[in-house]
Symmetry: C2
Subunit: 284 residues, 2 copies
């Protein structure tokens, strides 16, 4: 078996984060070996790190099935000027929330801490089971788990994932407490080295439309004319003026395929700018 | 001058919030009189309050020029089952961040608190002027101002708006410190009573596309065929499955206009569902 090797992998930490879980999956499915794993404090700093360290990879969350697009990822990818850094693969991981504590008795819990999104995603469970409990927001689920592990308070619990339960040696008081059962996050891996592109390809791009009636419809029609299936479209503010947008678009197929090449050529004439973020294989 | 009168107005508080500023502007431009203003803790609870209180209005932020769509607003508007509650008007207000303190000397400031978005939107200013300061996140800009007003710490400052400076009697140490100067938020007003629709109209809707190639392009083409200008499009997860979306679309014109009526009729045949959020006048 041949491996792709890198010095460093950058991702949104801390230890036990969902990005770290995605990273371990990427290492496995893409046959990657790395020397150091470097958890970053923000998505922005993870992207900045790969820019100054070419022999590295970076793991980025792009979309959650409940929350939608991860804005910090898309806005910062748009700013990357080095055109050799591309998305090389995509995978998804299920997001499962668990109730973790030093206590073994769920009836002792009177205070629960977690990231605001995790609290929101478990609100029905919390309302049903912990109507009287004090709920407090902290900066991440893994930090919540760490905080519980450092406290001796048997009334305190964290909402966090299974990796955090192991890392911080906490008891699982309740399993899979998400309100919506299909809670999944999609991740990208970025690198300068090209990965395997033998099957199941997709292309991601960002474009700005001209300020004229029907501009976006014209561009979507070009994809339809060439029989290219769009899998995602989202708008982001241009950040210049309320009412000016750029579009993040994903379609099936590699940019090296003839029909994609022809469509993109055609679209260039109708767009203000177009930036290909990558053409890559999907690992289910 | 004739006024539209209501019992209560619900909006995201606390006192001095940007939603409160937008509310005062709406009262003025739409000739509204209200008995009570009720600041709510979340956008969700503001929407829930109007559902159970028909003689009321609700003020909602829908889009910021830097951050994009306000997800909590759009996701909760999709859930409103009462079809008589509609968007009745739109306006925009500039978002200006100021540095506020009890101290009158900017050189004394060593700790700055604010909402994470406000901190992010002033990051260049903070980096240039307060590289050594301790920066701490709190739940809202108005709460930051309140916290500064309750403390005797002359090293402490808040990033908040001008209304908060007045309400909490703080000194303005630095004016308009946003990195991007065009920082604007768009707001809706919701009510059961219909407002003036004499000029400058727009229609907002949410629709689900059929799961087939070119489905969104087909719908956008219908708008183009009827010569209807789209002013906004954004996708939101259906929250059922990663890869399933609904689209939030805004177009110029009132739903009572013939071409809009015809286009919507046509679109109904191509969409899974369509929900008109309102047809309303824009107040610049």
């Amino acid at each position: 078996m041949s491996y792709i090797t890198f010095n460093n992998v950058y991702y949104l930490g801390p230890d036990g984060s969902n990005a770290e879980n995605a990273m371990f999956k990427f290492l496995d499915v893409c046959n990657i070996k790395i020397k150091n794993k470097i958890p970053e404090k923000t998505i922005k700093s993870a992207i900045e790190s790969i820019l100054s360290d070419p022999d590295s990879i970076c793991i980025l969350p792009i979309e959650n099935s409940i929350e939608g697009i991860v804005r910090e990822t898309i806005d910062n990818m748009l700013k990357i000027e080095d055109e050799t850094i591309k998305i090389q693969a995509e995978t998804s991981i299920p997001i499962k929330h668990l109730l973790l504590s030093k206590s073994k008795d769920i009836r002792s819990i009177k205070k629960i801490i977690s990231h605001p999104q995790a609290i929101a995603q478990c609100s029905k469970y919390l309302y049903k089971n912990f109507k009287e409990a004090e709920i407090k927001e902290v900066s991440s689920t893994s930090y919540a788990a760490q905080k519980v592990s450092l406290s001796d308070d048997k009334e305190l619990a964290a909402i966090a994932n299974e990796a955090s339960a192991k890392i911080f040696n906490l008891n699982i008081l309740s399993d899979d407490i998400n309100d919506e059962k299909d809670n999944t996050t999609r991740f990208f891996i970025l690198s300068k080295k090209s990965f395997d592109k033998s099957k199941n390809g997709k292309t991601s791009l960002i474009l700005g439309t001209k300020n004229e009636s029907g501009a976006l419809a014209n561009i979507l029609n070009i994809f339809a004319e060439y029989n290219i299936n769009l899998t995602y479209i989202d708008s982001r503010p241009s950040k210049k003026k309320l009412g000016e947008y750029v579009f993040f678009i994903e379609c099936e197929g590699y940019e090296t395929e003839n029909k994609i090449k022809a469509a993109l050529q055609n679209i260039k004439e109708h767009a203000n700018f177009i930036k290909i973020l990558g053409s890559y294989q999907i690992y289910e």
